[in-house]
Amino acid sequence: MPLYETIFITRQEISSHDLEKITANFSKTLVDNGGTIVKTEQWGLRDLAYPIKKSNRAYYTLLGIDSPYTAVKELERRLGLSEDILRFMSVRVKKLSKNPSAPLAKNNSYNEEAAEANQRQED
């Protein structure tokens, strides 16, 4: 089955308990339609680069998905109906990394690269 990454942005006013419930709910939607969740990431409350629906900060959630297209379509339909979701996007990916993605990783690519550059200089 194809792999997808779905990110949805949830408005700031909801509690963290609700956020978990929302995430679990959407995950269930996908599983019920024959998909599987490979990974779930909560990026937490982040500043938006520009306001969306008058919100300046929002919660980011990433779902790594291995699922048929129909299940993703149903998930997207429900995301669109939810009033707590400011925005969502599903991206087809070639592979899903097990590691936490860039916003969560402590050693992100820039740091690694800088470290490598230093190493090269030392050599």
């Binding site: 680069a49 969306i52 929002a58 990433l62 860039a102 690519s109």
Partner: protein, 84 residues
């Protein structure tokens, strides 16, 4: 070695005009990912515009991928469409 001090990969925002090779090619290069804002923000101007290839030194094929990643990140409000 003069060349290593001219390496654009050591600078955060500032790019030398005469760069040595593509900063996104080679074995040590980072993968272009729409989620990696720290990486992508090195290739946009202070006003949020995508920098041209002649300034960043990115090769054509990587630049196309980079542009796509930046535009994806913009939709998710990870990067600005513009400053204002």
């Amino acid at each position: 070695m003069k060349a290593s001090t001219n390496d654009p990969r050591q600078k955060k925002v500032f790019f030398r005009r005469y760069t040595k090779g593509c900063p996104l090619s080679g074995s040590a290069a980072p993968e272009i990912d729409y989620k990696d804002i720290k990486l992508l923000s090195r290739f946009i101007s202070a006003r949020g515009r995508i920098l041209p290839r002649r300034i960043t030194g990115v090769c054509a094929s990587k630049h196309r991928k980079l542009v796509q990643a930046i535009k994806t990140a913009r939709v998710l409000a990870l990067l600005p469409f513009s400053d204002m």
